[in-house]
């Protein structure tokens, strides 16, 4: 399966990004890593270009919320993205908040899976289970 991944916005946390790429690759995904400082349009363009099944956005500096509000609007401008699995993970707020309030908010923005301060391998395990269920 193909995954497009990257860090959204003016966020240069490259170590996490590289580790996500390594881990996805080790789990057998075909990875298209757009790296840090990636804007939403670039993510969706890359999904169309590569025919990716999954879009995995990461964010560490708290910018994700600002960007995520625009996702539904932007996504609606693209064709054939109904089956795209949308995942976001990292540190999803500025300051602190618990997952109970954050997860529903991001699901409402259009994400299927939301990982706020969840460790990488747990997150990817959950993704793999989700994909298994979905393809039954």
């Amino acid at each position: 399966m193909k995954v497009v991944t990257g860090v959204v916005g003016n966020d240069i946390h490259v170590v996490a990004n590289r580790l996500i790429e390594l881990s996805l690759h080790a789990r057998g995904f075909e990875v298209f890593n757009l790296g840090v400082n990636t804007y939403l349009e670039e993510f969706f363009d890359a999904v169309v270009e590569t025919g990716a099944d999954i879009l995995l956005i990461s964010s560490l500096n708290g910018e994700a919320e600002g960007w995520s509000r625009e996702i539904k609007l932007l996504k609606s401008k693209y064709k054939n993205l109904e089956n795209l699995v949308m995942v976001i993970g990292g540190n999803l707020v500025v300051g602190s908040a618990d997952a109970d309030t954050i997860v529903p908010k991001y699901k409402n923005y259009g994400f299927d899976l939301v990982f706020h301060q969840v460790d990488l391998s747990t997150g990817l395990d959950t993704l793999e289970e989700f994909l298994k269920e979905r393809n039954k």
Binding site: V14, R18, L19, L22, H25, A26, G35, N37
Partner: protein, 454 residues
């Protein structure tokens, strides 16, 4: 008029520069006090020079910080530039400087040198009469460096590779090489007037598991690019790796090879110095532990035989340090250096040989690139992955190399990518590591490694 001078006049005709007087600046550099030149201190002082980090937006606060440093017996004053200036956004820097001056709140993370101008800044520099080191991170530093030298700042940090690959995703690398070529030429020309202007490369790079061979190669290449333009005083640098042995070996290899490669291009007359950065990774939040870490770094710098040490502070984990904390590190570091006597001479022949072979092999591959000039060879080598910096965010970087720590915390290469690490060296590196681990546990090790000193 030479092409360089034409370019200089365009650069200095910038609307944020208040009438740059070339003849006056030349006269100033010619007659400047020797004490302002770090190259002079390297030659005459028989001790490791201590330099902190620091930059505040307003003249007043920067002046106060320098007073604290001088009180703490500093050897070299830093001048760290704000991030707007680094990106050549002088308009924003100007606005934020005014806000900082009016509200007593710092709206910039450093000193906006271009906006302050050389006439003002020179007053501060000559008042303290200590060498000042310019710390920035600017790919296009042409205007900044002209302003710095006119201010009496005679040490310029940075370089086209070390100020780009760790900091930028897509600033064009070829442009960075050309902008830095201008900087080297300007530094070289001013060096003819008095003591030499010292150039320093930024060895820490991404400060995340960068293997010694890559750091050394990049240090040597930036040194050569600088010397070939006529710079006569250059500092190579690296930061604490996490293994004392690896630091010592690295110091020995980089000193030996810097001399070797400088002589290869007939620049053996240039003076080459070694700078050591105290731990550049994540710091403990416990401030007392932070001081222990800083102290240990100082001891290792002495074992390495560095000519200058760049310090951290006990407040590293919590943001920009206060002037009090910053000056405290300077005083503590000077104290430690004063009592460190009778250091043993540690030599690890096998490690030195492996590291030397790796550096030679990569350097040879760079020189063998068919391009006609050194900067193009280096550019091509980065583009095709002969040089690969772990965890660089830049799109041109290959990011194929994988490094981990062995049991003794040495940084080892377990995947070479396109970097021409000789087979024998690669086998040696891998033999020190536990290679039975799967990717998930390697990834977990790397995550753990980020907090290794916490």
């Amino acid at each position: 008029m030479s092409l360089l001078q034409e370019e200089r006049e365009i650069i200095l005709g910038n609307e944020y520069v208040d009438n740059f007087d070339f003849a006056e600046v030349e006269e100033f550099v010619k007659n400047a006090s020797k004490d302002l030149f770090i190259s002079h201190h390297f030659k005459t002082k028989n001790k490791m020079l201590v330099q902190p980090r620091g930059g505040f937006p307003t003249y007043k606060k920067q002046f106060a910080l320098n007073e604290f440093f001088v009180e703490a017996n500093v050897d070299v004053l830093p001048l760290t530039i704000d991030s707007n200036t680094r990106l050549n956004d002088y308009a924003t820097a100007k606005k934020m400087l005014r806000l900082s001056e009016e509200n007593e709140v710092d709206m910039l993370n450093g000193y906006p040198l271009v906006n302050h101008g050389y006439r003002n800044t020179r007053k501060m520099v000559t008042h303290f009469n200590k060498p000042v080191s310019l710390r920035h991170g600017t790919p296009d530093a042409r205007l900044l460096i002209e302003t710095a030298i006119a201010s009496g700042i005679f040490e310029i940090e940075g370089g086209p590779i070390t100020y780009l690959l760790p900091y930028s995703k897509n600033f064009p690398l070829d442009k960075a090489f050309l902008y830095w070529k201008y900087v080297e030429k300007v530094c070289a020309n001013y060096s003819l007037l008095n003591e030499p202007i010292n150039r320093e490369s930024f060895g820490p790079l991404t400060a995340t598991l960068v293997p010694p061979a890559i750091t050394i190669v990049i240090q040597l290449l930036e040194m050569l690019l600088s010397l070939e333009e006529g710079v006569k005083s250059f500092s190579v640098s690296f930061s604490q790796t996490g293994s004392m042995n690896q630091d010592i070996v690295m110091g020995a290899v980089i000193k030996k090879l810097a001399k070797h490669y400088a002589e290869q291009i007939n620049c053996g007359d240039a003076s080459i110095n070694l700078v050591y950065h105290q731990w550049m990774g994540a710091f403990p939040t416990n401030k007392d532990f932070a001081e222990q870490l800083i102290n240990m770094s100082t001891v290792i710098a002495s074992m390495v035989g560095a000519n200058k040490i760049i310090t951290k502070t006990r407040e590293e984990a919590s943001g920009i340090p206060t002037k009090e904390a910053n000056a405290k590190t300077v005083a503590n570091t000077q104290y430690t250096l004063g009592i460190l006597n009778g250091l043993p001479n540690i030599v690890d022949k096998e490690e030195e040989e492996i590291m030397t072979l790796e550096v030679h092999a990569i350097m040879e591959a760079v020189f063998n690139d068919p391009a006609d000039t050194l900067w193009r060879k280096v550019f091509n080598s980065i583009k095709n992955g002969i040089i690969d910096v772990p965890f660089s965010p830049h799109i041109i970087n290959h990011s194929e190399m994988i490094t981990i720590r062995d049991a003794k915390k040495n940084i080892r290469i377990i995947k070479r990518g396109n970097v021409p690490i000789p087979d024998r060296c690669f086998e040696y590196e891998k033999a020190q590591c536990d290679l039975t681990k799967d990717t998930t546990s390697i990834v977990n090790d790397i995550i753990h490694d980020i907090g290794i000193m916490q």
